[in-house]
């Protein structure tokens, strides 16, 4: 049974109203800055392929997704990066390939990053946790240098510490640093030093991907750091975009703030590539 509330024109809906109805958000440009692809050993993930991702994007109204396969952040950097490039070729303009360096293979990182940049990747992804490698370690330096030279987004799961992030952001001022999962799952925005870095460094941003979401905290974070520092991400297929986008769509913030977070800012970061 559904509520009797009806509307005849989806273009008149607010973002909240569209979300409650499950209507695609056709009037808002949405960029998901954090997606994986492919099978993962750790747990079953239904429909983890690029075609399934695009179908889900269509259902919600997501225009673009930045992808870095689970294979790339685990056992095989090169094969995983090839998966991204193939997915981007299969879905031009919808899937944006990122390059993943495996810093444990330090001697290969520069050539692999350059290969991916030449092939058209739109950003770089680190996973310091799965790769068990510090953000400030030398194995990542070629990736930092290339992100800076080509003015690319660089999203990292793990940044060692707020101070390391600050020093790195200042050392590579043309790269756009995105702290994965930092836009979600923390309790005290006003007291968390990672947010001081986002407030003070012009090239540091926060990604919303994350399963944990305490009541009311997302709106507090938007108020604290400003919508322009926060980027929508959904962690597909570890998490479902249909769930992940809800923390933004139904948050007690303005539609203009939602549009910034959903894609406005990320469009700008993607446009600086040289």
């Amino acid at each position: 049974m559904a509520q009797t509330t009806t509307a005849t024109d989806s273009s008149t809906l607010t973002i909240r109203e569209a979300a409650l109805r499950g209507e695609p958000l056709t009037d808002t440009f949405i960029v998901n800055n954090h997606s994986h692809l492919g099978l993962y050993y750790g747990f079953a993930q239904p429909a983890p392929d690029a075609d399934s991702l695009v179908r889900t994007m269509d259902r919600v109204g997501i225009d673009q997704s930045c992808v870095f396969p689970s294979l790339a952040i685990t056992a095989d950097m090169r094969a995983g990066n090839d998966m991204s490039l193939e997915a981007a070729q299969r879905h031009p303009g919808r899937i944006l390939a990122y390059a993943v360096p495996d810093p444990n293979l330090a001697s290969q990182v520069r050539d692999e990053m350059q290969r991916c940049i030449d092939a058209g990747v739109r950003g770089i992804k680190f996973h310091t946790g799965l790769h068990e490698y510090p953000f400030a370690g030398p194995g990542y330096v070629p990736a930092f240098e290339l992100a800076d030279r080509h003015r690319l987004p660089l999203i990292s799961h793990g940044v060692d510490s707020p101070d390391v992030l600050r020093r790195t952001a200042r050392a590579y001022p043309n790269a756009h640093f995105i702290v994965a999962h930092a836009g979600a799952g923390r309790r005290h925005p006003e007291a968390d030093p990672i947010y001081d870095v986002a407030l003070e460094e012009p090239n540091v941003y926060l990604d919303t991907a994350g399963s944990v979401a305490y009541y009311g905290i997302f709106a507090q974070l938007v108020k604290h750091v400003g919508a322009g520092r926060i980027l929508y991400g959904d962690d597909f297929p570890w998490m479902c975009p249909t769930h992940q986008i809800g923390r933004i769509l139904l948050a007690p913030i303005t539609d203009d703030e939602k549009k910034q977070i959903l894609g406005g800012t990320m469009q700008r970061l993607l446009s600086t590539r040289q």
Binding site: A19, R21, R59, Y214
Partner: protein
């Protein structure tokens, strides 16, 4: 254009909760306002003091504070009776139903329950006799935490008339969960944390939408993700509406009052 579904939240708390903040809706008027803001029509509510103080206190409060408010359906926290903290099991369940409550919540880790059969079998038997749905609350936060699978398997196998609902079931346990969903029709999933890609539609397509109940975890958890996880799920409007509230209502209606 799709209509807004009637959302009946299976996982809500009323009153003060641990680690709440200034924006937490911690009384009836604030909870009702928060439900309105999120388009939630009704909620099955456990009292925060039943979970974070004691069932003997919170169960009384949830009845008092929901009296006359049709949108809020009370749910009790239950315990074994051996310590004398609550009445004997059959009496406890009878009181639960007489009070107007239609569901029970078992707070496993918080109440330091081992979930061994010798500890919990009398309570589950009493609930099963009256078909009172039991909501399993492990107070879990992240998907990587362990779940009490041996207990869950024993409970649904031993008490087939007991509907067992897994609150905040995470997206990382399908290899175990799906085995039990296949074998035991009295096992249900609450959807607030069930956010693996396409997982809700997958379960609805394989075992039926009536095996899923919509929940949010309000006011501890952000309800937005649970709501859009349902409204944008890749299934029919009929399945969506069943998960949104039909499945829960059926479970509550099946209590032997």
């Amino acid at each position: 254009m799709r209509e807004i579904p009637h959302l009946f939240d299976a996982n809500a708390l009323l009153g003060p909760i641990f680690l709440r903040h200034d924006d937490t809706p911690d009384d009836v008027p604030r909870l009702l306002a928060a439900l309105d803001e999120n388009g939630i029509s009704r909620a099955l509510v456990t009292h925060g003091r039943a979970k974070w103080q004691h069932p003997a206190i919170g169960n009384r409060l949830v009845i008092e504070q929901t009296k006359g408010i049709d949108r809020l359906v009370p749910c009790w926290v239950v315990l074994p009776s051996i310590t004398g903290e609550v009445p004997p099991e059959r009496e406890l369940v009878a009181q639960l139903l007489e009070s107007g409550a239609r569901a029970a919540r078992l707070c496993t880790g918080m109440n330091r329950l081992t979930l061994e059969p010798f500890e919990i079998d009398t309570l589950l038997e009493a609930l099963a006799e009256r078909r009172v749905p039991l909501f399993l609350d492990t107070n879990n936060r992240h998907w990587s935490e362990d779940r009490p699978w041996a207990f869950i398997e024993w409970a649904v196998r031993t008490f087939p008339t007991l509907p067992l609902v897994l609150l905040r079931e995470p997206p990382a346990n399908y290899r175990t969960l799906f085995t039990l969903m296949e074998r035991h029709s009295n096992l249900y999933i609450e959807t607030s944390y069930f956010q693996g890609h396409d997982a809700i539609a997958h379960v609805a397509g394989r075992w039926g939408a009536d095996r899923l109940v919509f929940g949010t975890g309000i006011p501890e958890w952000d309800p937005g993700m649970a709501i859009t996880g349902l409204t944008y799920a890749s299934f029919s409007v009929e399945d969506r509406d069943a998960v949104a509230g039909g499945s829960l209502q059926r479970l509550l209606d099946n209590c032997v009052v």
